[in-house]
């Protein structure tokens, strides 16, 4: 029974264009990496440093691809079946929930293992360069990556069983993966070496991420330890990944029953019909109560913009207020922790961390807001209704983009207090901070326009969301792989050229973050950003105009 689902899941995934593109891209990327760094002279390099560098790039690249691409497949698996009604058919069959779950999970893992297999020739070639051990480096790396795959696949399937739309499943999964892989490293970064319980907890939390283990394996030490001794990172990671995978799988299997489809329809109770005490209590909790009756859309306001805010679950003003408050608090806490900590980082490091966190925030938020702008309308049939209104293509597009831009601006503004503290600590930084903000502004604009352009080209929101995340990941994370290989795998000139398209790298060079002081990326990066934003604007404008024409 389980085999039927495995075959269906695997074959249906392999039939998609994105699967083909992913497999071919991975094969080509890693082959190129080895070909470029393959020794061309007759001298044998006995130290193995070159092979180690190739292996490092290979390991980080593979980890980045898995973290960025893999959640897209299982995240939509259960929710799509739920919405299409086929989950009801499966649950009505003699198959047990465990059998259905295993079929799905194994089908997804089968595809991802295929992806890993595509990288084996490159790993073998790196081994052939000498200086790398199969048993101490390559095989453990694959073992860890397989465990990461199992963990993220089970996590994505669990999220997929909770959500009601494919794009919500994708957004939540990417956010969860980002939290587990990157943000979990943060507390240890600040609290290490301090006495008390919190640093111990932070040390454990760090092991949720696969990054420290992979760093240890490739001989880069441990993430954010600054030479301090680390303890049992691998064991802890194995414990977390194994335990959480079992936990995620167990909960999802428990949820896979008829009750998953048995949801009452919300009756739409409004605050205006509640008692006075309840109304006041809600006003105190929400500040802006989401369930009060709204006044109509004003004459001078773009109705599409209001619609976009209202239809987003987190677009309602009470959620935006919370998001802005969290961003402001995080920004201030980061600066406070850095200035009162035991390690003297200097404002450059603080600035670097803030830039990375802001870019991470933009990377998570911008595609989730903009990748569904047009594709979701086309998918739900709303586009035809918009076409029947007298609104022009430009007006529709303007309203949609404005709704994203205002949200991103609000969040960006909320992170500014941290920079103000930096300027207060070190006043000459004023001009640098200003330039960093320009870079981040470009980043926000580019992320929004790229996602909107992808959205205008895709019929399905899930595809648009995945493609947007992948493209932004390539620009902001993928190019950093060249920086990791600077000096050994790649020369300074190549790294500088590659980093020119990365606004995060440009901001890091301006703030003179450690490792970026030798690069000069501005104003070249601004030109790149301007050009890419213009290209994306053109695509989205032409495509929107085309979509509003009679077919």
């Amino acid at each position: 029974m389980g085999h039927a689902i495995i075959e269906r899941e695997l074959i249906s995934t392999l039939r998609t264009l994105r699967a083909l593109v992913l497999l071919v891209t991975v094969a080509i990327a890693f082959s190129l990496l080895v070909v470029i760094r393959w020794p061309s002279n007759a001298t044998v390099e006995l130290s193995g440093a070159q092979a180690q560098e190739v292996f490092r790039l290979f390991a980080y690249g593979l980890l980045a691809i898995l973290v960025l691409m893999i959640p897209a497949f299982p995240a939509t698996s259960v929710v799509r079946e739920k919405n299409k009604g086929t989950l009801a058919l499966l649950l009505n069959s003699p198959m047990s929930p465990a059998s259905i779950y295993l079929g799905k999970a194994m089908g997804m893992l089968g595809f991802v293992l295929l992806l890993l297999i595509m990288s084996v020739p490159a790993a073998t070639a790196a081994y052939a360069m000498g200086g790398i051990s199969w048993f101490r480096q390559i095989l453990p790396l694959y073992g860890i990556l397989v465990l990461v795959l199992v963990q993220y696949t089970t996590l994505a399937l669990l999220i997929s069983s909770w959500t009601n739309t494919t794009d919500a499943a994708l957004r939540t999964t990417y956010a969860a993966v980002m939290l587990a892989a990157v943000v979990s490293l943060g507390p240890h970064f600040f609290l290490q070496g301090q006495p008390g319980l919190l640093p111990i907890l932070a040390d454990w939390l760090r092991c949720v991420s696969p990054v420290p283990v992979v760093m240890e394996l490739v001989g880069h030490g441990d993430a954010g330890t600054f030479g301090l001794a680390t303890t049992e990172t691998l064991k802890r990671f194995l414990l977390f990944a194994g335990g959480s995978s079992l936990g995620f799988a167990g909960i999802t299997i428990f949820r896979l029953n008829a009750f998953l489809l048995d949801r009452p329809r919300p009756q739409g109770v409004v605050t205006d019909e509640r008692s006075t005490a309840q109304r006041w209590a809600r006003r105190f909790v929400f500040l802006v109560d989401p369930h009060r009756r709204k006044s109509g859309i004003g004459l001078l306001v773009n109705p599409i913009m209001v619609k976009e805010f209202r239809t987003r679950r987190f677009g309602r003003i009470h959620w935006l207020l919370r998001l802005v408050s969290v961003a402001a608090l995080a920004s201030l806490m980061l600066t406070y922790a850095a200035t009162t900590g035991t390690i003297d980082w200097g404002v450059e490091t603080i600035g670097g961390i803030m830039v990375v966190l802001q870019v991470a925030l933009l990377l998570v938020l911008a595609p989730s807001l903009a990748a569904n702008l047009i594709s979701a309308e086309r998918e739900s049939g709303g586009w035809e209704l918009l076409m029947m209104t007298p609104m022009s293509a430009v007006s529709i597009l303007f309203g949609k983009l404005l709704s994203v831009l205002l949200t991103l601006l609000l969040i960006m503004l909320a992170t500014l207090p941290g920079y103000l503290v930096m300027i207060w600590i070190h006043p000459p930084l004023r001009w640098q901070v200003w330039q960093v903000l320009v870079c981040l502004g470009w980043m926000a604009l580019f992320a929004m326009l790229l996602s909107a352009a992808v959205s205008s080209l895709c019929r399905r929101t899930a595809v648009a969301t995945t493609v947007s995340y992948a493209l932004l990941g390539v620009v902001c994370v993928g190019t950093m792989l060249a920086w990791l290989g600077a000096g050994t795998a790649f020369g300074h000139g190549i790294v500088e050229s590659v980093l020119q398209i990365n606004p995060m790298a440009a901001a890091l060079t301006i703030i003179e973050a450690p490792g970026f002081t030798t690069y000069h990326l501005v104003p070249a990066n601004w030109w790149w950003m301007g050009g890419m934003c213009a290209a994306c604007t053109l695509v989205v404008l032409v495509q929107t105009w085309r979509l509003t024409r009679p077919s």
């Binding site: 739309t165 329809r265 919300p266 009756q267 739409g268 109770v269 409004v270 009756r293 709204k294 006044s295 109509g296 859309i297 004003g298 004459l299 306001v301 109705p303 599409i304 209001v306 619609k307 209202r310 239809t311 987003r312 679950r313 309602r316 739900s380 049939g381 709303g382 035809e384 209704l385 918009l386 076409m387 029947m388 209104t389 007298p390 609104m391 009679p550 077919s551």
Partner: protein, 322 residues
């Protein structure tokens, strides 16, 4: 036909996709305040015709106008004149019904002060006032259809074009939908309704257009189409018992056309036949049956319905094509 001006005029409307002709020289006129039922099998060209009329698709040839405005050249004007309800609802998540209607009202440029009253009016008109605070995505199919019609009425269009409004509705909801459409026609709206639930259309439509393979096979009032298609009427003679069935059938064959089809059903004690003879001659037949002491309990014409007409038209077209 009355002296009302034509609200919708379609002349030789043609739509070709590569080698496939979706609409083949479609022509008809519809007077103001009338309800036109657009019927046809799947792929007949109903939705294509509707999409051209509302400006969502280009025609390959011919012309179409609504209230004197060209559908192909004046799409902006047409958007103001027409209320279109597609077969897909176009739901938005996390929006209440009132917010949903408010958004479309604003998109049509209705001023806020007027919009509030208008939303109340259209909800009242479609019997959906009680759904005001519900979330759109939580509505049942029937409720969504009502809100869909309310949405099309917001900007007070003179012509309403509804694609499959009764699709997926239960009998009670269908009756309510029929009442809503009749109420709109009473308000002077011109309606074009596509549906495959033919009994519903027969009850509300003034005019019916039968489309098949992109061609207009029949057009006119329901009764007129019936008379054209069914030149022979079906008569049923119900007897008290089966013993008289053979005798009755023999008398019927003697009285009507020699080539007419006469069927006997002894188990039902019924004789059925088709004839083109007038009602006056049927009286004579009944008299002769009674005179022959055949125990007739009922002698009645079986009314043809739109489904029969539709099947007859499409079968005739298929035979002609083969």
């Amino acid at each position: 036909m009355n002296d009302q001006p034509s609200a919708v005029v379609v002349k030789d409307l043609t739509k070709v996709y590569g080698q496939f002709t979706a609409l083949d020289r479609l022509s008809f006129e519809l007077e103001q305040g009338r309800i036109l039922g657009l019927i046809g099998p799947n792929g007949a060209g109903k939705t294509t015709a509707i999409k051209i009329l509302v400006g969502l698709a280009r025609a390959s040839g011919g012309s179409a106008s609504i209230a004197g405005h060209d559908c192909l050249r004046q799409p902006k004007r047409i958007k103001r004149l027409v209320g279109y309800m597609p077969d897909v609802f176009g739901s938005y998540d996390n929006m209440r019904v009132w917010e949903y209607l408010d958004f479309f009202g604003a998109a049509f440029g209705i001023r806020r002060s007027r919009r509030r009253g208008r939303i109340d009016e259209v909800m009242e008109m479609t019997g959906s006032t009680y759904m005001r605070d519900r979330y759109v995505e939580s509505l049942s199919h029937g409720m969504k259809q009502r809100i869909g019609i309310a949405r099309t009425l917001l900007h007070d269009p003179s012509v309403l074009i509804l694609d499959e409004p009764a699709n997926g509705l239960d009998p009670q909801a269908r009756i309510e939908m029929r009442q809503i459409l009749l109420r709109l026609a009473e308000l002077g709206k011109t309606l074009i309704v596509s549906s495959h639930i033919l009994p519903e259309l027969a009850r509300i439509c003034d005019v019916v257009a039968i489309l098949n393979h992109g061609k207009l096979e029949a057009f006119g009032p329901v009764d007129g189409i019936m008379r054209t298609i069914f030149q022979k009427r079906t008569i049923e003679v119900q007897l008290d018992d089966e013993q008289g069935v053979a005798g009755a059938a023999r008398l019927v064959r003697e009285s009507i056309e020699p080539d007419a089809e006469v069927s006997e059903s002894p188990s039902e004690a019924v004789v059925r036949f088709q004839t083109a003879k007038p009602e006056s001659e049927m009286g004579g037949l009944l008299a002769s049956l009674v005179a022959a002491q055949i125990p007739v309990t009922q002698f009645r014409e079986i009314p043809a319905d739109l489904e029969d007409a539709f099947l007859s038209v499409t079968q005739n077209a298929k035979q002609a094509a083969s």
